[in-house]
Amino acid sequence: MKLRNTLTSMALALTALSAQAQTEIQMWHSMSGALGEWVNGLANSYNQSQKDYKVVPVFKGNYDESMTAAMAAFRGGNAPHVLQVFEVGTATMMYSKGAIVPVAKVMKDAGYKFDPSVYIPAVAGYYTAPNGDIQSLPFNSSTPVFWYNKDAFKAAGLDPESPPKTWTELTLAASKLKASGHKCPFTTAWQTWVHLETFSAWHDVEFATQRNGFKGLNARLNVTTPLHVRHIENLANMSANGLFVYKGRAGAAGATFESGECAMYTNSSAAYAGIKRNAKFAFGVSTLPYYPDVKGAPQNTIIGGASLWVMAGKNSNEYKGVAGFFDHLSKTDVQAKSHQDTGYLPITTAAYQATEKSGFYKQNPGTDVSVTQMVRKTTDRSQGIRLGNFVQIRTIMDEELEQVWSGKKSPKDGLEAIKKRGDELLVRFENANR
């Protein structure tokens, strides 16, 4: 034991000595708190697995801050090697051809065998170019699921073990919850991601033309179909009857579910950690509700979260280090551990199977819901969304939906306004990147 300790410390000392010769790989990310430690842990485990490269993770603020910082740094010639970018920034990165190097190319150039088929299609597909090359490495991905308060279900005379599967069932459950005195039967976080973007994929309809923008820059929004109008109308009616209570943009609704104020809500599967820590009630998780009369529903849900992009302008030795790091991240044991620790989706099928085999899903019921929603063959309409200026389009959708919930606009008018204003931005992006 003593000998081993001495050996370890000698090895550490050697590592420190050889630090001079190490090539540093800068990685800018937006993971704070416990997730920040997770990123540091991943970098450490890679750094200890070899001695030529040292990955240095740097927290650069939230997603849009780190992206802005990287853009400014790129203009100044100081871009990091690896940048974590949220999913709505995908198109911007992808079309910035001179600023990035596709991950598939980085891996191939460094001599790694890179097989796209080991990645879960609905996860990797989001970041794959039309020619089949993965552009960025999926890093932290989650997907919308349905969360509910089992105690509130019991109090309302509902079966806590059979959560509503369809929107009709959900409306019924909401009415019962309301009748039992619940002030907020249903709410949602990330309304645009859940109720327009994922909603479309889940029902196997396009959110935008040109395969949601995967096929080209001339994509336009497709949110004014009868199905979209029907769903927003349904939610607007629920809102008018006090069954759905709007709790704000982005993740603001999370706190209202965790505090017990709202009994059911739709949010990212990554909300698991927070709910588990804060909820003082029994909670359940289930698949996203759908309309059973729609052909092809339920298809698959789409992801949110972020991926790792490799920035252009570095030397081949540095890219080798990046490739080694990415290879390390994709290893089954590393992936499976990340998935189990953070609640993010596994990026490889092998990691999912390893987690299943280990009995993790049995011990933590509900953690597999997000994965089963994703581990399916995707269709042309459900692979993901790739639209330019998507940050602004999300804001537009938020604004218009708020007008609908407050009754200022009809669902149809709201969706038409989304299409009109969103399409203007898409045209601009098309013109700028042609």
């Binding site: 849009d64 853009m71 911007t92 709007y246 209202t256 104020e261 940050v391 804001t395 407050s406 700028a432």
Partner: protein, 295 residues
């Protein structure tokens, strides 16, 4: 003006050397960025700055074709009138009272100045805590009083919230200036008026107020500029411009398009428009309101 004493420099370079540091700061932090904004506003560039094309006035044309942008002029006008109006009135009221306090004046004055030291984003978060529908302290109290507070969907509530937060933050500044102005009003004038039988209200209205108009005018300009430019952090932290776009004032859109959406050209065009408005407003204020100010 007759008692003015003028100092004249003999050398020609010394005055320039003395103002140089200040000029440098002004050029570096005001003129240079303003010039950059002017330049950017006629270009359309991609996010990473790899290509940028001259587009003439396209960025401006697009802005004025966007009806939500035109609407935000109206929103900004309402917002700044409320912020400047409430900010000045409340601060003046507090200053007049603090001026008359005999005991513990320092305590009151200090506590009134505290909000100024708090960062705008923190102010926003603070108010949002108190006003969160169904959970906040204030919204809970309002509910008891029969008001169903919901600034997430009710525009009037949302506007009230951002005006309150913005005014609260600015009151200290206004208060300080008003207090200093009130204290510089000669005591002899007030005493003479009191002997002649003028009550407190009469003294305030006919002596103090006219004498502090220069300060009030200065504060009006500062408050308008504050409402136009300095409030985006508060809005970002409270309403994010919602519901819909009902609290998205001009500067908030500049921030959102420029820093969140990386649309530098569009954002620069907006800041140029904003710059023009503030210049116009300030000129207007100096030409018309200043005539009614007694120095």
């Amino acid at each position: 003006m007759t008692f003015e004493k003028r100092v004249r420099f003999r050398s020609s370079w010394l005055p320039w050397a003395l103002v140089a540091p200040q000029l440098l700061v002004v050029v570096l932090f005001f003129f240079w960025p303003a010039g950059q904004a002017l330049l950017e506003s006629v270009y359309e560039s991609d996010a990473f700055g790899m290509s940028s094309t001259f587009v003439g006035l396209d960025n401006f044309k697009r802005l004025f074709a966007d009806e939500t942008y035109l609407q935000s002029f109206w929103t900004t006008a309402i917002f700044s009138i409320w912020v400047a109006g409430c900010g000045l009135t409340i601060a003046l009221l507090l200053a007049v009272m603090a001026d008359r306090i005999v005991h513990g004046g320092l305590f009151y004055k200090t506590s009134l100045i505290v909000p100024y030291a708090i960062a705008p984003a923190v102010v926003g978060v603070l108010w949002v805590f108190m006003f969160t529908p169904s959970m906040g302290v204030v919204s809970h109290a309002l509910k008891q009083a029969g008001v169903d507070w919901n600034h997430l969907l009710n525009s009037t509530h949302a506007m009230t919230l951002i005006v309150t937060a913005a005014v609260w933050k600015q009151i200290s500044y206004n208060f300080l200036f008003f207090l200093a102005a009130l204290q510089s009003v000669p005591k002899s004038l007030l005493e003479a008026a009191a002997i002649d039988g003028a009550g407190p209200w009469m003294r305030f209205w006919t002596i103090q107020l006219p004498l502090i108009t220069p300060t009030a005018f200065f504060l009006l300009v500062v408050n308008i500029v504050y409402a136009f430019f300095d409030t985006f952090a508060i809005i970002d932290a409270t309403t994010s411009g919602g519901p819909g776009k009902d609290t998205a004032i001009l500067v908030y859109k500049v921030y959102q398009d420029g820093f969140k959406a990386m649309d530098l050209g569009g954002s620069a065009a907006q800041s140029v428009v904003l710059m023009a408005i503030v210049i116009a407003l300030t000129v207007l204020q100096f030409r018309y309101i200043e005539k009614r100010v007694n120095y």
